[in-house]
């Protein structure tokens, strides 16, 4: 087995890898859902007039953004030995990206004109209804493309889960390589699969961006 590229091997590994694509996608969407919820929580906590709450969110965001995802994953893995690795992986991804999404939400919220808050107040909306009916719907719409970009970034980071023994594309490729010594095909196909999934998604995001820009 000395040739650089073998099409048969490539086809074999391709089929092997497609079987774990669902794992990667699940980790991506669950992680992103968690990030979207937590990010909103941080963003709202940041705005709290109660200092300890806003400070807690501030340090949470800063800490998470200032440390590598890989280190965070390994830390959670060691700190939570009883949890399934998939759950730890999703938590790590969600937590990490929640810090970035918090900033995105913040931008979206701040872009809602002051007059909207005042109209809501003049009509006697409760704080909860003001957020859910007036502010958030307007804050989220323009940031949807940015959120989409983060979704793609998060997706491309899922191979890191292999470091905590989640069986996803990267670990399957590595195992395949160590059995067959055909690492080139294995890792190349991983790349191809990622490209096949993220490129159309990024086109979608760009389309959404253009639509938003037109709406302005």
């Amino acid at each position: 087995m000395s040739e650089i590229w073998n099409w048969q091997t490539a086809a074999d590994v391709f089929w092997k890898l497609t079987k774990v694509v669902p794992v990667t996608l699940e980790a991506t969407f669950l992680g992103f859902a968690l990030a979207a919820v937590l990010g909103l929580v941080w963003a709202l906590m940041r705005r709290s007039r109660f200092r300890p709450v806003s400070l807690l969110a501030y340090w949470m965001i800063e800490f998470v953004r200032s440390t590598p995802l890989l280190v965070q994953l390994l830390f959670l893995y060691l700190a939570l030995p009883r949890f399934p690795v998939f759950v730890i992986g999703v938590t790590g991804l969600g937590l990490h990206y929640s810090a970035y999404l918090a900033e995105v939400y913040r931008g979206g919220i701040e872009a809602v004109p002051q007059g909207q808050w005042e109209a809501a107040r003049a009509l006697n909306f409760s704080p909860f209804k003001t957020w859910t009916r007036i502010i958030l719907p307007q804050a989220v719409r323009p940031i949807i493309p940015v959120m989409g970009n983060y979704l793609i970034v998060l997706f491309k980071e899922t191979p890191l889960l292999f470091t905590i023994n989640v069986v996803e594309m990267m670990s399957v490729a590595k195992k395949f390589g160590s059995h067959t010594f055909q690492y080139t095909e294995a890792y190349t196909i991983v790349g191809v699969l990622f490209f096949l999934m993220s490129y159309p998604s990024s086109l979608l995001v760009r389309w959404a961006e253009r639509r938003m820009a037109l709406k302005q």
Partner: protein, 299 residues
């Protein structure tokens, strides 16, 4: 400053007796000695407002009677908007008391003392007041109909169908019934402001505040909005505070005109007194600049 004269009673002289008894009960609860006819619906007492070191309202005393239409005129920066925003609870006074229907807006009576009120009290008081903004502040993500039904449904907990019926009625009144499924961005400025008026009216406030409702509009659209406000003023028994630069409009609609300058109410009186016989030099100068500049009355 002289206490405002109790004038313009002609409006509520003809009012139904039901309202009087309501006010009568209120006064009894409040242990004030005034007769129902003289109980103001809004009362400012020594109201001051500072932003940082700048005092923009310097001790306002003002009474508005139920149903009274009060126009507020005055140069830019004189505190007109702030006056209204304090009543709408968009801004808190730095000092003084504001009362609505004899009840303090930002305070609660505990025995004889006044203590700062909680948000629940303020929310209850706020429901008596509505406001129309210079820049409309419509909800861009909701249709015209939804803009008007949003508060009845989500604040008053009114059933959707009932809210929609009332909203249609209001939108009919302001002449926009054929636009109810459009979004605000599809409307002209004048139409937007009429939606904003319907949105405030549907909550049935007892006091409506208009902060320069036409000054963000193209000149050709001013008339349609003023006509709507005028109609509401003539039909409704709401008290209205009309901040405006449309002098002709103020003259036609207002029972009383206030002239503010430098954070004070410098002069007040009937439209005739203010526009025909201004006393203070500052008002004379203001009117000369204003009416002279734009050729007499509304722009």
């Amino acid at each position: 400053m002289a206490l405002p004269k109790v004038l313009s009673l002609r409006e509520h002289d003809s009012e139904d007796s039901e309202r009087r008894t309501r006010i009568g009960q209120k006064t009894k609860d409040d242990k004030t000695q005034e007769s129902p006819e003289t109980t103001p619906i809004v009362r400012y007492r020594g109201v001051k407002k500072s932003f940082g070191d700048v005092e923009v309202l310097k001790g306002i005393d003002l009474d508005m009677m139920p149903g009274e239409k009060v126009a507020v005129i005055g140069p830019s920066g004189s505190g007109k908007t702030t006056l209204a925003r304090l009543l709408m609870t968009l801004e808190r006074p730095s000092a003084g008391i504001i009362e609505v229907e004899g009840e303090p807006l930002y305070h609660k009576r505990v025995g004889a003392r006044l203590v700062p009120a909680d948000e629940r009290h303020i929310a209850r008081m706020r429901s008596k007041i509505g406001m129309v903004f210079q820049h409309f502040n419509l909800f861009p993500h909701r249709t015209i109909l939804q803009n008007v039904t949003e508060a009845p449904i989500h604040v008053k907990k009114m059933p959707r169908l009932e809210a929609e019926e009332k909203a249609r009625e209001m939108l009919e009144k302001v002449g926009l019934i054929e636009h109810i499924d459009k979004y605000p961005e599809q409307l002209s400025g004048g139409q937007k402001q009429r939606v904003a008026i319907a949105r405030a009216l549907v909550m049935e406030p007892k006091i409506m505040l208009f902060d320069e409702p036409t000054s963000a509009l193209d000149p050709e659209l001013v008339g349609e909005v003023l006509a709507v406000i005028k109609e509401i003023a003539e039909k409704g028994d709401m008290a209205m505070m009309l901040i405006t630069h449309e002098m002709q409009f103020a003259r036609e609609v207002a029972d009383r005109v206030l002239f503010t300058d430098g954070g004070n109410i410098v002069e007040q009186g009937t439209p005739e007194e203010i526009f025909e016989h201004p006393k203070s030099e500052r008002l004379q100068a203001f009117l000369a600049r204003f009416l002279g500049g734009v050729g007499g009355g509304g722009q």
